[in-house]
Structure formats: structure tokens, C-alpha cells
């Protein structure tokens, strides 16, 4: 660029004015800045999202420390493999409710009886997702007193007898 001037000095060929055309070393910074910005956005995004969210759980200790609960304060929720929620209070008959109503139901129940203790039972053939969903609804409904238990045969019989 600096060396070749093809159609350049026409009328005034004194040689003095030529010096104007001298160009210094010019580096095109655009690609470098492009890459820098790309990396910048990459690192910014990865740093922000690196730590996943968690849900904290406090479960009662092992079963050898029995907690006495009045039957009337005990709410049992059973999630079957299809994701349907069966519930009963104490020894009442089981009832079925769709999962979407769980939050409202839990809010009502805990308002009606603040001493309520909930036992969540998820069927072994169910999904881990159902447990997380139920616990999430509990969090949203501010239900903090609950425990987890396995589904036993008596529960299965009750579920079969449940009214819909």
C-alpha cells in the first residue's frame, strides 16, 4: 500500500508532497476484538450458570426415635406410578386428587390444622420426579413438617378401595 502508487504523481512531481502518503504499520484489530468478545461472553455465561439450584430437606431421624403423632394430625399422601395422588387423614378412606390441586389442598390443610404432619409415600415403580414435584409443592405451600415412608401392602389395599 505504501510502496506502490500507480497513477499517483501527475502534475506536481517535486517529491516533497509524496511524503504525505506514507502510512505507518496498521494492524487490523477487528478479528482479535471479535475473538475477545466471544470468549468474554462465553466466560460470563459459564460462570453465572455453574452452580445448580438445590432443594433442602430435613427429614426426621431413624425410626428408633419414634415420634408420637395423633391419628387426626396425620395426613398420608401416596403417589402411584401414574402420578396420581391418593390421600387420607388418619384412618379415613382414601381419596384421589389430581396433582395440580395438591398445592391448594396442602395450603388449606395446613391452615386448618397447623399441627398437621404429612407422610409422603411414593410407589417404588414411580418416578423420582414425582417425589421432587410433591416436595416442591410442599415448599410452595410452606409445609415443613413431613416425612417419607415406603408404600406397604396395607396402603396398596387402601388405594384399591379408594373412592375417586
Amino acid at each position: 500500500m505504501a510502496s506502490v502508487e500507480t497513477g499517483a504523481p501527475r502534475s506536481h512531481s517535486k517529491g516533497k508532497k509524496k511524503k504525505k502518503r506514507r502510512v505507518g504499520v496498521r494492524v487490523d484489530m477487528t478479528p482479535m476484538v471479535d475473538v475477545a468478545m466471544l470468549l468474554l461472553t462465553f466466560f460470563m455465561l459459564t460462570t453465572v450458570f455453574s452452580r445448580p439450584q438445590t432443594m433442602e430437606l430435613n427429614l426426621p431421624p431413624d425410626s428408633d426415635t419414634k415420634v408420637e403423632v395423633a391419628m387426626s394430625n396425620l395426613l398420608t399422601l401416596i403417589v402411584n406410578p401414574d402420578g396420581k395422588v391418593y390421600w387420607n387423614k388418619g384412618t379415613d378412606q382414601m381419596a384421589i386428587m389430581p396433582f395440580v390441586e395438591l398445592r391448594k389442598f396442602m395450603l388449606e390443610q395446613s391452615r386448618a390444622n397447623p399441627k398437621l404432619i404429612t407422610v409422603v409415600k411414593v410407589d417404588r415403580d414411580g418416578k423420582y420426579l414425582s417425589l421432587v414435584d410433591v416436595l416442591d409443592e410442599f415448599n410452595l405451600a410452606n409445609v415443613t413438617r413431613f416425612s417419607l415412608a415406603p408404600v406397604n401392602d396395607a396402603d396398596k389395599k387402601n388405594m384399591a378401595k379408594a373412592k375417586s
Binding site: 468474554l40 466466560f43 455453574s50 452452580r51 439450584q53 418416578k127 423420582y128 421432587v132 416442591d136
Partner: protein, 154 residues
């Protein structure tokens, strides 16, 4: 036609400060980023509304994958070596049997009582193995633990 339009000057913006700042931020983020080590187990995390962050250090991670296999990982290589031997020093999770899990958890917590227990289950994992793990937690007197979830919107 006029031959020389050369003298026309476009808008010139001095990009130097911008580039300076960009590089400053770039170096900052490069230095502060901790890359996630390659995952031994791939897990599709369920979503919840909880916004509690995973603790940064002293984490004991029990993973249950889609097939219901159980993996245990601790974030310090020294602990991994102590529990699983030299070969597994740099792995971040090792498959374990549910019968061994209790002992491993207790050993780990004896050598580092500050360890927080974290359960990371796959969305589609069957509940059976998860129930076993929760049972083991209860037997090992781990009554407080975290479950890894994604943040659900809405």
C-alpha cells in the same frame, strides 16, 4: 466522474477503551472460572421452585441415573482416593452398590464431618433406588441433605 473520493472521512470511533475493558473482563472471568470436571454420569435434573444454591465445597454427591444405578462422588481427590483407591483418585463419581453406600457415607463423614450430602437424581429414574438411598441416608443419620434441581420458571 471525480476520481478521488479518498479524502472523504467516515465516522471514526476510538475503540481502545472498549477493547481495554473487554480484555479486563475477559481475564477476570478466565481466572475466576472453575471448569466443571467432565461428568462421569449424565443426569437430567428435575425442576423445582427452590432457589437455594448448591454449596461450593465439601460436597458429597450421591447420583442416581436414569437406569437407577447409584454413584458416589466427593469433591476432593484425596477423599476419593481414601474411599475408592488410587485408580479412582481423579474420577468424580464411582458406581457403588446400595449395600456399600451406607459404610462409604459414614467413612466419608468421619474423615470430613463438614461434608454436606447432596442427592442428584435423574428425572426419569425409578423411585425404587432413590428410596433405597434415602433409607441409607436415614440409617447413616443423615437427616439433612439437599436435592439438586433446576430452577423452574413461573
Amino acid at each position: 466522474m471525480p476520481k478521488h473520493k479518498k479524502s472523504r472521512v467516515g465516522i471514526k470511533l476510538d475503540m481502545t477503551p472498549l477493547v481495554d475493558v473487554a480484555f479486563l473482563l475477559l481475564t477476570f472471568f478466565m481466572l475466576t472460572t472453575q471448569f466443571k470436571p467432565p461428568e462421569e454420569v449424565s443426569v437430567d435434573i428435575p425442576a423445582s421452585h427452590s432457589a437455594i444454591k448448591l454449596p461450593e465445597a465439601d460436597v458429597m454427591l450421591v447420583t442416581v441415573n436414569k437406569e437407577g444405578k447409584i454413584y458416589l462422588g466427593i469433591d476432593s481427590p484425596r477423599m476419593m482416593e481414601r474411599l475408592f483407591g488410587e485408580a479412582n483418585r481423579l474420577k468424580n463419581a464411582v458406581q457403588v452398590d446400595k449395600n456399600q453406600l451406607g459404610n462409604l457415607l459414614i467413612q466419608a463423614r468421619i474423615s470430613n464431618p463438614k461434608l454436606r450430602t447432596v442427592l442428584k437424581g435423574d428425572k426419569n429414574s425409578p423411585y425404587g433406588p432413590v428410596e433405597d438411598v434415602l433409607d441409607v441416608f436415614q440409617k447413616a443419620r443423615i437427616t439433612r441433605f439437599n436435592m439438586v434441581t433446576d430452577l423452574e420458571k413461573g
